[in-house]
């Protein structure tokens, strides 16, 4: 049987790329429940099922953090404040030129 880590990553990619992730998760859970070891064709143990699910969950959490939280945090950093220099210069210029006219 394929290593649990690799299999978990493949399941994660299926969920990530799916248009309907919830349906994909249901399908994957059914698949996991019916998995067998390739060596002896016996159903996989409960602890291996839990390990597989853990790999999927950790991958999903990592993906959410990388794709959604980081850009938000980066967006908060603004290097330079906006300036009104030219705008206010223009107002001052027009006001000075129209005084007394």
């Amino acid at each position: 049987m394929e290593k649990l880590n690799e299999l978990g990553k493949r399941y994660f990619l299926r969920i990530k790329d799916s248009i309907y992730p919830e349906a994909e998760i249901d399908e994957i859970l059914n698949e996991i429940d019916n998995l067998t070891y390739s060596e002896n064709n016996k159903p996989i143990s409960d602890s291996d099922k839990e390990k597989l699910v853990s790999v999927i969950i950790e991958s999903l959490k990592g993906d959410l953090t990388r794709k959604k939280i980081r850009p938000l945090l980066e967006h908060r950093e603004i290097e330079k404040a906006y300036s009104n220099d030219n705008y206010l210069d223009l107002i001052e210029y027009i006001k000075n030129q129209t005084k007394g006219k």
């Binding site: 409960d46 839990e50 699910v53 959410l64 404040a81 906006y82 705008y87 206010l88 223009l90 107002i91």
Partner: protein, 151 residues
């Protein structure tokens, strides 16, 4: 409890935390949308001031004005003041959203601290920011908060 039930519980918990995360993201998106709208309005109203000044420039550059030109200049001056007020109204709305916690306060301050200071302290706009009679209370409140003035 079967392994399937255990897995289902774990997935349900994950879904729960994901939905909380989605609410957090939606709030962030709403805040970003408000900030974009406010910024657009400020920019558009500034452009209007610039547009009116362009119309005024040929008249201003003339040394002598006939009666018709005087009337035109007076009319343009009114439009110029109106455009400035619209711009100040846009700042007022933005500052009100800041005070109501409708925007990301750290980002808003970083973006507008210089602009607000320049607007409030500008000599030609002084008449709009009298501490007692000013209509732009939110701008003044934000200005005093950021500049640490006691008020």
């Amino acid at each position: 409890m079967t392994s399937y039930e255990l897995i289902s519980i774990i997935i349900a918990l994950l879904a729960f935390f994901t939905s909380i995360f989605a609410v957090f993201l939606n709030n962030k998106k709403a805040s970003a949308t408000i900030e974009l709208t406010l910024n657009e309005r400020i920019t558009t109203t500034k452009e209007k001031v610039s547009d009116v000044s362009l119309l005024m420039t040929p008249l201003i550059s003339k040394k002598q004005h006939d009666e018709s030109e005087k009337n035109m200049l007076a009319s343009y001056s009114k439009h110029f003041d109106l455009a400035i007020e619209n711009n100040l109204n846009a700042y007022e709305e933005a500052c009100a959203k800041y005070l109501d916690n409708k925007v990301d306060k750290v980002r808003f301050k970083k973006t507008y601290i210089s602009e607000i200071r320049q607007v409030v302290e500008n000599v030609e706009l002084k008449k709009y920011f009298d501490a007692v009679s000013s209509k732009y209370k939110a701008i003044l409140k934000v200005y005093y908060e950021w500049e640490n003035h006691e008020k």
